[in-house]
């Protein structure tokens, strides 16, 4: 039997602690015990992959994928793009990325979000893409608004887009958030600042990309994502390709 693909150990110094006291929800939801590590097995070295056929024609375009009657979402039009790679610097092709976000006023389309800002009838707030052979992805949306949230003080989230990312292995699974260059709320946010490494926060901050900005149409932001590295060995038996 050939060797399994090993997954690089997770460097927890780059991630928020399980309990970050300034982020109150983590106080009762972050586990106390240290997680138990073990050598990669088949279960973690494999993971779900999806074909491009799962996507609908507008899944990557939040400007219109929830719009009615040819309308479009209200707010600053932006295109977010970048490359998904792994910790060894290899692009990750054919990987699913799901995104969700508040509308331009800072309101989510969710029955539990009662913020004063109105819903936009033409904006749902979710989208998804699959990376190309070179690991690249892009989607269109409106720039989300900042919004207040209950955390014990006068807390406002910086404008952000949630990202859910699949790699090739289940242990590479990642959920994170993308912030916007120049947003003063990043430095004030207990969730962003739960990350102990300033450079790691900076890497979650998308940059305005004038090269990719389309004149008189839409501004571009660049956001690259990195998953944990994998060994080079390919899967062997027990993984049935289809």
């Amino acid at each position: 039997m050939s060797k399994l693909t090993d997954i690089a150990p997770r460097d927890f110094s780059l991630h928020p602690p399980r309990i970050a006291p300034d982020y109150r929800s983590s106080l009762s939801r972050g586990p106390i015990h240290k997680p138990i590590g073990f050598a990669t097995t088949m279960t973690e070295a494999t993971g779900p992959t999806f074909g491009h056929d799962v996507l609908g024609p507008n899944d990557h375009d939040l400007l219109i994928n929830h719009a009615v009657d040819g309308g479009s979402a209200i707010g600053p039009r932006i295109m977010v793009h970048g490359v998904l790679s792994d910790g060894d610097g290899r692009p990750v092709p054919n990987a699913l990325i799901e995104v969700w976000q508040a509308n331009a006023g800072g309101r989510y389309r969710h029955k539990k979000d009662a913020y004063l800002a109105p819903l936009d009838p033409n904006f749902g707030g979710c989208g998804r893409v699959i990376t190309g052979e070179d690991g690249s992805y892009s989607f269109r949306t409106v720039q989300p608004g900042a919004y207040p949230w209950p955390n014990g003080g006068n807390d406002w989230r910086p404008a952000h887009i949630h990202f859910s990312v699949f790699g090739m292995a289940f242990s590479q699974r990642l959920i994170t958030q993308m912030y916007f260059e120049g947003d003063p709320h990043i430095a004030l946010c207990p969730i962003a600042q739960s990350i102990p490494d300033a450079a790691a926060i900076d890497r979650l901050t998308a940059r305005l990309d004038m090269e990719a900005t389309v004149p008189m149409d839409i501004r571009a932001f660049r956001f690259d994502i990195v998953l944990r590295g994998r060994g080079a060995t390919l899967f062997e038996n027990q993984l049935e390709g289809t």
């Binding site: 097995t41 088949m42 779900p48 610097g89 969700w100 029955k111």
Partner: protein
């Protein structure tokens, strides 16, 4: 090749259902295919149901959580194209998640060791800063010498074992407290 640092994790926040199970979140114009909803239909094996709740350190059910499932089919074979992947969102009022799937087969790992049938689970919710990996084993289908369970002190092993009852299997995920679930660094 260049070593790149992994992107930092951030909490999914309270609205992960919008992004991952939009129809469940009430979005009227969702996707043509909702991922993670066809475990049982996609896999050969005996149908089973696992029910549970995610419980926080105050003893309250988590209402904004999502459990992801990754598993082989009844013969222990992992597939591609999304087969073997499931999503079970916490119910917005009760917190219950329901996994309708098939009993996974035992898996032979790289050393030729047999692992008892199990589901890999990944838990996200508001307040969880890095998604939590754990497993569900089955009370009537678990070996005493399972290589992973054997690494865990006996008093905590039970947190990974779904109990068979008249209504299928039951397994609560405890984020904290006396019965805190064993989570993995994998």
């Amino acid at each position: 090749m260049a070593k790149l640092p992994e992107s930092a994790s951030q909490t999914s926040g309270p609205y992960v259902h919008i992004g991952c199970v939009p129809e469940f979140a009430g979005l009227e114009r969702g996707y043509q295919s909702q991922l993670g909803t066809s475990l049982r239909a996609d896999l050969m094996g005996d149908p089973i149901t696992v029910r549970g709740r995610i419980i926080d350190g105050m003893g309250d059910p988590v209402l904004d959580g999502l459990v992801e499932i990754w598993q082989p089919d009844g013969a222990g074979t992992f597939h591609t194209n999304g087969r073997g992947f499931g999503r079970a969102p916490s119910h917005a009022e009760t917190g219950e998640f329901v996994i309708e799937t098939v009993m996974p087969g035992a898996v032979i790992d790289q050393n030729g060791t047999l692992q008892s049938p199990h589901l890999a689970l990944w838990i996200v919710a508001r307040g969880i800063n890095v998604g939590l990996h754990t497993r569900a084993y089955f009370s009537d289908n678990v070996a005493d010498d399972d290589p992973i369970l054997s690494m865990i002190e006996p008093t905590r092993r039970t947190t990974l074992i779904a109990q068979k009852g008249s209504n299928g299997y039951q397994l609560d995920i405890h984020l904290q407290g006396e019965n805190e679930t064993v989570f993995f660094d994998v």
